[in-house]
Symmetry: C3
Subunit: 419 residues, 3 copies
């Protein structure tokens, strides 16, 4: 879209809002990149390069990082039309001194950028610099249930309990061993599972956790299991088919510990079996929030910030958020995190869901350097949507439009997650 | 979108077209509001306020109307971003003397508006005033099968036979009692059901009914039942599971009585069990018009104006309307009745369905005051789409674009429903 | 959209790119129209006219062509809002001398156009003229498996093996007779089926075939069958239910003969049983590319250019193409081949799929005269999307945007299909 004066004003005003990023995969003990390999090793680049023809040879753990970077950059002239490439150009300009006017990055730039990154990322205050340049205030983590949550500032790096393993892999002895190691509880029935979960929730909330999260397949249907059923499955069926019931029990703890439960709905794991690391998952558009009807009705006091993987499900998310007080639309996830989908989904939500319930965006980043380009993309679209839907039709003044945008970017994150 | 000169010209020309509103829930014996409570009691406001945090205490039947209005208005600063809020601002400006330049309505305005409404709505000719200010000529009703259809001018308020109860609740003794009371026929088999339906259709067509209507769940699949099957279900299974067959029989009467059959497809009832009155229904995006294949083939002489609840199904509706002579797209329903969905769905229909088959819009209103703001929203979008898709590319002159818009707004309603 | 200067520049630059049309239904022995009846006999016109009320009487094989054309043109004032009508106006202007400024075609023009067509199409070099006026270089065919592929220049008319009959109609004795006649092989088990397919693939590749193609229903799920299963179904079940396995075997031949396998996914045949010729098929939006998971994993060396019938499935196509190296988005098919769907689907693909994998468009034409208007529609939208997504935001210069457009229009077709 043409970035006219109005859109530029809105965008520049929104770019001054300090960010609280409500979902990421940052490792608080290694939050920033150490080399360009950390940036381009992000699955968005390895999967696009591989999809465009790059062999996976140089993606091997023991391959030379500089060689790997050269290869991924070499293939950019095959995917330099993508939003993901645009994030990299933004990173190269903001952090690696690429000329502001440069819009292309070619194979010839690989070594120069690699060296610049090595030098830049080696600065002792690099982490602080990235926080500052990104106007980042706090960022949520995604911690495994047995994470000690030690060694970092939980005021800056907000813990969030990831429950995928507990819900989907309790049938693996390794998971149960981890549960026992973390809680001292040997799970063998509903009561011991409750005891273990209570210990985990206690540990997380005491360490400043502000949310519980999970990613779910398109077919998932939560269900309350009675204790006998847990007992039977655990004792006689190797802990199989417990996911719906364990999920339900976790929702009960979210209620008791007053934690929002982030649901990320719609991913099918390992669809492309030989895909690159983290580049194997896809989805099936045939899914519905109706599968969560009983859950939303049973837990009126639990806030469910929901991310849907497909834009086709956005109308369901908007409608369920318009009707259920405890359902909130949350950001733009993964395959729906590119401009055309964000523009569509954001516009749909903004015109029918109470503004106080709209959690605008999260970076989903693995390294802090990605917060800035991803939020930058979102702010450009947000400014554009605010201009088209509210300012130009005379519904809101520029000032009020910026206030609305700020609510999506920051205020609602603070209120929903109580930070 | 920016309302430039061209769009303004088209919109102002379209705003002069007298309206025939082909679907509403108006009570012809109490068509207009008596107090602001009638306006803000509309489920679009109670459900948004509740979704944004308002308790349901003041929604009780015996609660004080003024208190209820204060509460709903108080919460508007949480949902003043929505299209539904914009309808209310339009109503306050048009009917309640709110300053034209005012774009916000706050808690402080509640009493002032409540008093203004009481005074305004008390005028003896208020109904006529609303018709005039809305440029409304006729409006369709949605009448229960046992509605006497007496006491109102059927030239202004066009009767429409609602068949939901007959199709989905014939297993309730109360429904069968109502059928017997209305028709004198005690239904016990296919023959008596036919006799009762014939009586009902006779009653409605003699009283100027111009359509038959029903709302259907996403899973519904019509089917022709033979008389033996009706007999068995009625005699030995308490009238259960008759919906597909009763629906089919009603389609046969639509054919014989030459009535269009409005299908409103996709609603799941009572998904949010503790939701506000009329704010409990949602949907499942997984549905298809293919479920109606046999119906459309079996009744080539019945016109089926179809509304789909989800924008995701709009391409199916457009394609089925492009192929089947008896299938017509009808308005923008409920969860798809906000600007982004209307814009998308209208543009898709306008570029592939014969223009003579496009029924542009209906208000779905419960009180006449909503006809004006809802049609106003639609006309703005229609003007915008006509400008972008036809006038700017040089396909149509402004005059011809207005003619095309008029066809969607009025001409097709007259031709399809023979009014 | 407003065709401003930038969009006009891009469009005019793109209109100079010589076309290689990767999918059509052209009969190379009768590639151009002989009368206006060949143009308006195209199902897009007969089905729209019929949908708008035209009886099928004049569509009978033995009806008078001039009368038929008059009737179809007479009904145009009911569907002159459609994209399909716009194609016809373009044809009438480009080939039949209709005034450039004329935007309407009415019943009064029927005879004049009919006569102009008769005269124009009778020119000995008409085929060459259409190639020249359309800037067409090569066009792909869709040949039945027993097509002799003789009597035409395969450098201009590129053969493509259509496998629908082999996959879905092998249970018909007539199909097996045709296989035996074409290959000399009497199919009775997996081995003889392989022998027959090998002969067919040999015949096609020796005659310059560059692709294999098939159209599939929404429910289709490919599967590898073992030889015993083929034997049992053929010997004891009249060749029933072999489609998944025959399809899989054909994919094996695509791998061995290095032919891309065009999958056209989502069509339900004969939904409108009494519809016009080729105007009876529709779809069910409930389908997913996940059904092809095993196929995409099993054949990493086979390129699958994929067309989806619904825009709702476009995000799946974009995501699968972003992840799987062997999955490519291919054009805009049938019910998704109108401006709003093309604009949406193209924008979604362009921002997340490597540009080297995007096969922009194909005409799907039955007569060469349709290549120009269809590609014209696509180029206008492509120019518009390139302007909005790349040039105006400062991501690409006009020159580079044209290069990106050229890649979608031509370069990728040459590379993917090796022409």
């Amino acid at each position: 879209m043409p970035a006219d004066q109005l859109v530029q004003n809105l965008e520049s005003a929104l770019s001054k809002v300090p960010l609280i990023d409500p979902h990421s995969h940052i490792d608080p003990l290694a939050p920033v990149s150490k080399s360009l390999d950390d940036i381009l090793g992000y699955h968005y680049y390895t999967e696009l390069a591989h999809s465009a023809g790059m062999s996976q040879a140089l993606l091997a753990r023991d391959a030379d990082p500089r060689e790997r970077v050269r290869e991924i950059v070499k293939f950019m002239d095959r995917y330099d039309n993508t939003a993901q490439y645009a994030w990299f150009v933004d990173i190269a300009r903001t952090f690696l001194g690429l000329d502001e006017k440069a819009t292309r990055i070619t194979a010839a730039d690989a070594d120069k950028l690699f060296d610049a990154a090595e030098k830049t990322f080696a600065q002792p205050d690099w982490e602080q610099q990235v926080f500052a340049k990104s106007r980042l205030e706090k960022i949520f983590l995604t911690n495994e249930f047995d994470d000690p949550l030690k060694g970092f500032d939980t005021a800056k790096y907000v813990p969030c309990l990831r429950t995928d393993a507990l819900v989907f892999h309790l049938d693996k002895p390794e998971t149960r061993r981890r549960v026992e190691a973390a809680t001292g509880v040997y799970v063998r029935d509903a009561a011991t599972l409750r005891k273990a979960l209570a210990t985990i929730f206690m540990h997380f909330t005491r360490n400043g956790a502000r949310a519980c999260a999970i990613s779910l397949p398109p077919t998932f249907h939560p269900a309350k299991f009675d204790d006998e059923h847990f007992y039977e499955q655990m004792q006689f069926h190797d802990f199989h088919d417990l996911a719906p019931g364990v999920f339900w029990m976790i929702a009960e703890f979210c209620r008791d510990f007053k934690l929002p439960f982030d649901l990320m709905i719609g991913v099918n794991r390992r669809v492309y079996e030989r895909g690159v690391y983290q580049g194997q998952d896809l989805f099936d558009q045939r899914t519905s929030l109706v599968q969560y009807k009983e859950l939303f009705n049973a837990f009126p006091d639990v806030t469910f910030p929901i991310s849907v993987l497909t834009s086709g499900q956005n109308q369901e998310l908007a409608a369920f958020s318009w009707i259920f007080p405890n359902v909130l639309p949350n950001g733009h996830w993964w395959y729906s995190n590119t401009p055309p989908f964000i523009r569509k989904d954001l516009t749909e939500r903004l015109t029918c869901v109470p503004k106080t319930k709209l959690i605008g965006y999260y970076s989903d980043a693995y390294k802090l350097e990605f917060v800035k380009p991803k939020y930058g993309m979102y702010r450009r679209i947000l400014a554009d949507v605010l201009a088209d839907e509210f300012v130009r039709p005379g519904v809101l003044s520029e000032t009020n439009a910026v206030a609305l945008g700020t609510r999506l970017l920051r205020d609602n994150v603070r209120e929903v997650f109580k930070v």
